[in-house]
């Protein structure tokens, strides 16, 4: 049995806006195994970043529990809680917004070392900063250590963010879209570097993106979780999901993606949605949230029961899908567009 480093149990999260309650995450259940490649994908606003923040306890869940190394983090106090906060780090979506413009690279990397009491004197701190810069290929170190964010390229800023997340020697890093703001010509290199850090430092990385091709690249040997309007709709082995998606939303998504190959992308069959309107979180449809758009919708079933993430009989043992007809073993019948 693989060991989970982290587990989310029936996590819900909502926000209040005036009198309205926005349910942003509902019934999220999944675990992250030590050193596995796990990627959360989904379209804008589906709750990926919120999930990432909840994992790091930057945001409490409205209900549900997060267990880190088998312990409910809500029960952690004092030194134990501090240790948890050091062990779990997040790398933010936007490297431009997340770096303080008045701090040099040295300031940004030494600050967390000093506040967590991790450096060993002035010299020790400087040496550790250099090590970290080495790890993320910000070399030669002297060329970068005194630079301010505006003097760095997008890719270099991203490397600073990663190095900063590594200062506390975390065992789990949530990397939120941390390459999508960066130009195509360098994003794959950043991803490769993170995958390499996992091997060298033994850190587990949960990668969050809306780019399925990138998710595939990162989690080829691992798993992908697909989110839609605040729920996980499919969770399974990456290669299985890419080759043989089960959930209707995953199928539509994969069929819709243009690919960087003219012949392939032009001969691709696109599954038509029944509706292109994305429901508001405050007016979620009853039953399965995808049902008004789902090309395989079964009337009286899909608009009635909220599907749970379950394993399907006869399917890949590691795969889970939230779809009532699939759960009941019904054959899906495509509606005419």
């Amino acid at each position: 049995m693989p060991q989970p480093i982290l587990e989310l149990k029936q996590v819900y999260r909502s926000f209040k806006r005036g009198r309205e309650v926005i349910p942003v995450l509902q019934d999220i259940n999944f675990s992250v195994n030590k050193l596995e490649f796990l990627c959360l994908v989904g379209e804008s606003g589906c709750g990926k970043t919120t999930t990432g923040k909840i994992i790091c306890d930057l945001l409490p869940p409205s209900s549900g529990a997060i267990e880190f190394e088998g312990v409910d983090i809500a029960a952690l106090r004092g030194a134990d809680y501090k240790r948890f906060r050091r062990s779990v780090q997040i790398i933010h979506q936007d490297p431009y917004a997340s770096l303080n413009p008045t701090h040099t690279v040295y300031d940004m990397l030494s600050y967390p070392l000093l506040t967590h009491g991790l450096g060993n004197g002035r010299r020790g701190v400087r040496q550790r900063v250099q090590e970290l810069m080495d790890l993320v290929d910000l070399t030669p170190v002297e060329d970068f250590i005194d630079k301010y964010p505006h003097q760095l390229s997008g890719g270099q800023r991203q490397r600073v963010s990663i190095a900063r997340a590594l200062t506390t020697e975390p065992s789990l890093i949530v990397a939120d879209e941390s390459v999508s703001m960066v130009d195509v010509s360098i994003r794959i290199g950043l991803l490769q570097m993170m995958m390499d850090l996992r091997d060298r430092l033994g850190v587990t990385i949960v990668f969050i993106t809306h780019d399925l091709a990138l998710a595939k690249y990162f989690a080829w040997e691992g798993r992908i979780g697909v989110m839609y309007l605040g729920r996980l709709v499919e969770l399974g082995r990456t290669q299985e999901i890419i080759r043989n998606p089960q959930h209707p939303y995953t199928k539509v998504l994969l069929s819709a993606i243009p690919e960087p190959d003219p012949e392939k992308t032009r001969s691709k069959e696109h599954i038509q949605l029944r509706s292109e309107d994305i429901p508001r979180l405050t007016e979620l449809p009853p039953g399965c949230s995808f049902h008004p758009r789902c090309p395989w919708y079964v009337e009286g079933v899909c608009d009635d029961v909220v599907p749970q993430l379950v394993s399907l009989a006869g399917a890949d043992s590691e795969s889970e899908v939230a779809c009532i007809p699939l759960e009941r073993g019904q054959e899906l019948v495509l509606h005419d567009a």
Binding site: I188, P258, P260, E276
Partner: protein, 338 residues
């Protein structure tokens, strides 16, 4: 498909543009030339800051005040009349934008006036170009809204805030072609839209082009979009077109190390791709770009010649023009099994 033989609707020759700034002149466009033929879809691809938006702003004469066109000309042909776009009067320009050339900008969903119904925005556009018959405007508008796969009556009577981002984007496309332009320019038409919304926009654009036969110039950093929509692809690097050719030639027979580098840095959906690799370094600062070939600091094939002299966009080796001294070496390296 477009007709290779027909005369270009738009011809850009030797266009150079700088932005004057306190820190120095930004050389945003350098000696850019290309032709756009009737019905052709041309993609300009390149990374952020490479100068794509600058080129398109020049085409509709909407460059910001600190921009200076330092060389070149842009000729536009409609039927048998030819115009030099850089010499149009303000009145001619107003007619040119919309009637001849429509542009949909990056993030343009916010371009609608929030207090006016969509109907008013169609009517105002038509009327400001001398078209006053409201029934005729309505008829054309509803046809176009249907073509972009919206519920025409409902959308025509809506306020912008009643429409989703993707619906607004499609309404904007319909509005853009209201006056039947020959050229539609799209700057990052799908960036920041969700995958399913992107798909709807791509399909709609393809339908529209098939029916209305306009030419498209679209600008994107997204190679997949170019693969799917373009007849012709031009790669832009540091303000220059470094390679241009038919879409299949660019994707399967690229001749420029930068284009090739881009192609080997994007993952596809199938297979594990062990050979993927980023281009080292980052794009240059355009105030003080490298001498010679601007790509040389990042190029695996660079030699002394590349440091000294800028390679011309020439058709000497291979199927289409590219600006590189060592195309033969790239071709050679690609023959070796990976």
């Amino acid at each position: 498909m477009f007709d290779q033989q027909r005369e270009a609707v738009l011809r850009v020759e030797d266009l150079s543009i700088i932005y004057r700034t306190k820190r120095g002149d930004v050389k945003a466009t350098s000696r850019v030339s290309f032709d756009l033929r009737p019905g052709e879809a041309l993609a300009l691809i390149g990374e952020s800051g490479s100068g794509k938006t600058t080129i398109s702003l020049a085409l509709i004469r909407k460059l910001p005040k600190n921009a200076v066109v330092t060389s070149g000309n842009i000729t536009y042909r409609r039927d048998d009349s030819v115009q030099d776009l850089l010499k149009l009067s303000n009145r001619q320009l107003r007619a040119f934008r919309w009637k001849d050339c429509a542009m949909v900008f990056q993030g343009a969903q916010n371009a609608f006036n929030p207090v006016l119904k969509i109907r008013r925005q169609f009517e105002d556009t038509a009327q400001s170009h001398g078209w006053t018959d409201k029934t005729a405007i309505r008829e054309r508008a509803l046809n176009l809204l249907e073509l972009v796969r919206l519920d025409p009556e409902r959308v025509y009577d809506s306020y912008p805030h009643e429409l989703s981002g993707g619906m607004k984007q499609r309404t904007l496309l319909a509005l853009g072609v209201l006056l039947n332009p020959q050229i539609v320019i799209l700057d990052e038409p799908t960036t920041a839209l969700d995958i399913l919304t992107q798909r709807a926009i791509i399909d709609v654009l393809n339908d529209m082009q098939r029916q209305l036969h306009f030419s498209i110039i679209f600008i994107s950093h997204d190679l997949s979009l170019a693969a799917e929509m373009a007849d012709t692809v031009a790669t832009v690097y540091a303000g220059e077109i470094v390679e241009i050719g038919p879409v299949n030639d660019i994707f399967y027979r690229s001749l420029h190390p930068y284009t090739y580098g881009l192609l080997t840095s994007v993952p596809t959906l199938e297979h594990m791709q062990d050979h993927l690799q980023s281009i080292p370094g980052s794009p240059p600062n355009l105030i003080d770009p490298p001498a010679g070939c601007k790509f040389h600091p990042r190029c695996a094939f660079a030699t002394d010649a590349c440091h000294k002299d800028s390679p011309p966009l020439a058709l000497d080796i291979g199927t289409h023009p590219a600006a590189c001294w060592h195309k033969d070496r790239l071709l050679e390296s690609r023959k070796e099994p990976v």
